[in-house]
């Protein structure tokens, strides 16, 4: 099998000079697919994603994007390479309007961004209505849409989401997952950390179950959902 | 103290002794005396910054309050002025204070709402006019009493050394007001509030002639009872004789003796304060303060009342500065509000603390002496430098005049530079916190 589009290959590392949090952890996603990282609290899910995005020291292993080694690049440089990241909190510019949030997402682009803005509005129609409103005044679910929309503005090849459904209602969560599938259909790879493991695995092409910074199970989403051991330990039966 | 610290103190002592040998012993003793006072001020700032990370940019104000205490405690009361308007002024002040207290009480008793705002404004406005009505006439009457010599209420005619703790109390009171409002907010706000109060204290001292003669200055303050007057020494045969025994003339010997006595007194105060500060540093209270300083959030989560601790330490540090201010005015023998500048009385003290080593009392003391020495010596050095630079220029040329005049501003530049360099390259200072 050829190498995945984005791969964090047997990564070990931690924050600053602190101890290793990840141990030979491998995370990968193919073009246009959805990969989901699940696991108990403190398993290093977010850390693994941040490692892929260059926000902590990867001391061993490598991160490759489309075959190119990007282990040493800063997060900003990775944005330029076509990666986009949506943090879990503080992921919008609260004092700026929805439209300005999107413009800032496209800051690095010099071409016409109007078409991309329209695409985002098509994806999240409510944002078109609220385009002139300060993003900080929106509801939780709408804020998440702004956050994802902002990340999409760079026209990324990979979209990374850190618990996009944290703190939103189940209905909004389903809606968000639908949108994420839609994004993936346009050919964008999605790497996502999720607390709601069952729902996330249902839409996942690939699932990673991490425990204490190590890969515990890796399989397709469906296979993991059907695995009795995974069900017992991580999905609550 | 480690060997290194001892060596550092020895070097500073050497610099001052060197001044004695190469310039004059009089200058050396002057440096020692002001160095002692500076060390106490630095100790006060270190208590605030080093212990608790509080940024007080109003040292000048607290020092000036100390100076005011020296006047209010030691000068004789002006009977005529008291008769003319003393009671009126006191009554005015009481009314003013009552207005403030009344407004505060009302604010805390009444329900929030528009009515409360208007009521408070009404009380304040009414109180203000009554205050001015009572107060102004009294002030005018007092200031009319022999303005060339007195024109102020005078003091309590008590020994001047009593003013040292009183100065501390005055400063503590001002610190309490500032701390109550600005602590618990972002650290910058304390800085701005202290900067403001210091300027306002100075403006008040300059303008309220009835209090301490304003810019007309109060001169000829008493001395502590252990310090004699030079003229008395020169008239005492036994003193002249023993001076001759050291091979000195009586005038020289008497000035040295007086300065030496001051130095002794100040050393005693410094040692007591240093001992207290060290004890506090090593006490559970001191450890708690450092814990708060290093991680406010964690300390708060453990149930420590951060703002209250900050208020305590802010008041204590300001009190020490006020005490030093009273001592300085005692040493000068006069209160001259016009000479209080932020550079000299706030910023210089900060440089002392940072250079000496914030978070270390011995560092603050060392910084006090070292930076005072530099402060005194930089100006002649600047002048010397300017003389060298301008030596080739024609006499009377505008540029030469300008450069020579500007030598005085070298101090601002040098001190700013020293602070930036230390913050950048040796932020822990000469004797770092341990």
């Amino acid at each position: 099998m050829s190498e995945p589009f984005l791969i964090g290959d047997t990564m070990s590392g931690g924050y600053g000079s602190g101890p290793d949090i990840l141990h030979d952890c491998t995370i990968a996603v193919n073009e246009g697919e959805i990969a989901v990282i699940v696991g108990p609290n403190g398993a290093g899910k977010s850390t693994a994603m941040k490692a892929v995005f260059g926000m902590l020291d990867v001391r061993q292993g490598a991160v490759r994007l489309n075959g190119e080694d990007i282990t040493k690049l800063t997060p900003q440089a990775r944005v330029a390479k076509g990666m986009a990241f949506v943090p879990q909190t503080s992921n919008i510019f609260t004092t700026m309007t929805v439209e300005e949030n999107l413009e800032m997402g496209a800051f690095l682009r010099r071409d016409d961004i109007q078409k991309t803005i329209e695409q985002v509005f098509d994806l999240f129609p409510i944002l078109r209505e609220k385009r002139g409103q300060a993003a900080g005044e929106l509801s939780g679910g709408q804020r998440q849409q702004v956050a994802v929309g902002r990340a999409l503005m760079t026209q990324p090849k990979v979209l990374m989401l850190d618990e996009p459904t944290a703190g939103v209602s189940p209905i909004v969560m389903d809606e968000l997952f639908d949108r994420i599938i839609e994004v993936a259909r346009t050919g964008i790879s999605i790497l996502m950390v999720e607390q709601n493991a069952r729902q996330a695995l249902e839409i996942a092409d690939k699932g990673y179950v991490l425990v204490q910074g190590r890969n515990r199970f890796t399989d397709t989403g469906q296979a993991l959902l059907n695995d009795p051991e995974v069900r017992k330990s991580f999905l609550g039966g | 103290m480690k060997m290194r610290d001892v060596i550092l103190f020895a070097i500073v002592a050497g610099l001052i002794i060197g001044t004695g040998f190469f310039q004059s012993w009089n200058s050396a003793l002057l440096i020692v005396n002001m160095g002692l006072i500076s060390a106490i001020m630095a100790l006060g700032v270190n208590i605030q910054w080093g212990y608790a990370g509080l940024f007080n940019v109003g040292v000048m104000g607290f020092v000036a309050l100390g100076g005011l205490a020296a006047v209010l405690v030691s000068t004789p009361p002006t009977g005529e002025a008291w008769a003319a308007g003393g009671l009126r002024v006191i009554l005015g002040l009481i009314l003013g204070a009552a207005t403030m207290v009344g407004a505060i009480l009302m604010w805390s008793r009444m329900k929030p709402g528009r009515a409360r705002g208007f009521a408070m404004f009404g009380v304040l406005a009414l109180g203000f006019f009554i205050f001015r009505y009572v107060f102004d006439a009294g002030v005018a009457a007092i200031e009319a009493v022999d303005p060339a010599a007195t024109g102020y209420l005078g003091g309590l005619n008590l020994p001047i050394m009593i003013s040292w703790p009183v100065g501390g109390l005055l400063a503590a009171g001002a610190a309490w007001i500032i701390g109550k409002t600005a602590l618990g907010l972002r650290s910058d706000y304390l800085a701005i509030a202290t900067l403001g109060i210091a300027e306002i204290i100075i403006i008040t001292l300059k303008n309220e002639d009835w209090l301490a003669r304003g810019v007309k200055n109060v001169v000829g303050l008493d001395r502590p009872f252990v310090v004699p007057k030079e003229i008395d020494l020169q008239n005492s045969p036994s003193f002249v004789e023993s001076a001759a025994g050291f091979g000195m003339d009586a005038t020289m010997a008497s000035t040295l003796y007086v300065k030496g006595m001051y130095a002794l007194l100040f050393t005693v105060v410094l040692l007591i304060l240093l001992w207290l500060a060290q004890t506090a540093w090593n006490s559970p209270w001191g450890r708690m303060l450092r814990a708060i300083r290093d991680n406010e959030v964690a300390a708060e989560a453990m149930g420590k009342d951060v703002t209250r601790r900050h208020l305590q330490v802010f008041i204590l540090g300001s009190a020490v500065c006020g005490m030093a201010g009273a001592m300085m005015t005692t040493l000068d023998g006069q209160l001259t509000p016009g000479t209080y500048q932020p550079l000299r009385y706030t910023f210089l003290i900060w440089v002392m603390v940072i250079v000496g080593g914030s978070g270390n009392n011995f560092g603050a003391v060392l910084g006090g002496f070292l930076i005072w020495f530099l402060w005194v010596q930089v100006e002649p050095m600047g002048l010397f430098l300017m003389n060298v630079i301008t030596a080739g220029m024609a006499d009377g040329s505008a540029l030469k005049e300008h450069l020579l005049d500007s030598a005085a501003h070298m101090r601002l530049l040098t001190m700013g530079l020293v602070l930036l360099l230390v913050l950048r390259f040796s932020p822990r200072g000469l004797i770092p916190e341990r």
């Binding site: 800032m104 | 403001g196 306002i200 601002l412 930036l420």
Partner: protein, 336 residues
Amino acid sequence: MDFLNAIVALANFVLIPGIAYGAQLALGALGVTLIYGILRFSNFAHGDTMAIGTMFVILITWWFQSLGISFGPLPTALLALPFGIVLTGLVLLSTDKVVYSFYRKTRVKPVVLVMVSLGVMFIMNGLTRFIIGPGDQRFADGERFIISARDFKAMTGLKEGLAIKSTQGITVITAIIVVAVLFWFLNKTRTGKSMRAFSDNEDLALLSGINPERVVMYTWLIVAALATIAGTLYGLDKSFKPFTYFQLLLPIFAAAIVGGLGNPLGAIAGGFLIAFSEVTVTYAWKKVANYALPESIAPDGLAQLLSTDYKLAVSFVILIIVLLFKPTGLFKGQSV
């Protein structure tokens, strides 16, 4: 008639000076608030930045005057202003490079940056005094008045005169232009928006590919322009003296905090609030009261609430009240 006289006196001594002073404070507070929003510290060197900028303008003005260049009825200083801004910008950029950039990289606590700015303040203060001296400098030339009191009296036949100094008119017009340009820049241009984004959420701005060093550079350049313009207008209107500019720090900070640190609109409102409070409290109301009130209840004294010496106390009291009751400022500022 007396009522008209009262209004004219009020306009002459309170409204017009208040508006001019308010505009000057607002421009100063805008600089403080921008630095706070983007570099995240209270810049104590701002008063002296204004001083050093004004000094450049004065020196260039003198040079122009010696060359015989003038700006007709307008002060020559306006011609010198752009050059002064460029020089101040260079000073601030090099200060940032030599001093502040290190602390940005090491991510120190904000209070350390405040302390560093204090060091910068004294160096700037020293340089200003070193170059131009500590004394008073007047550099206003051109027409002194738009309307002089005498012309006004002749025109209207009123007993009270209304004088509008040209420096007051220039202050207000310049301030309006500067503020309009600044808000257009912040709200409409890509760079301006990136500055707002950076001020709003630094980490997300980085993730969006906004270059922090560029944002910081633009901030210093804008601050240089604001400070130089504010300082020059104040100097033209009153006079230039380094120590006065240091003391302006308090009303400027009060204005920025009253409006909510980090909020440009608040800084403007704060500037006018502080200026009008100061002028109203220190103005001797005798004249206005004598016109407006019947003789029987008109005041005997000056009817001045506080002597002008205490004008700093006004900003201070307002500052304290705001800190006590609404520490984020009247408009929402960034932090407590």
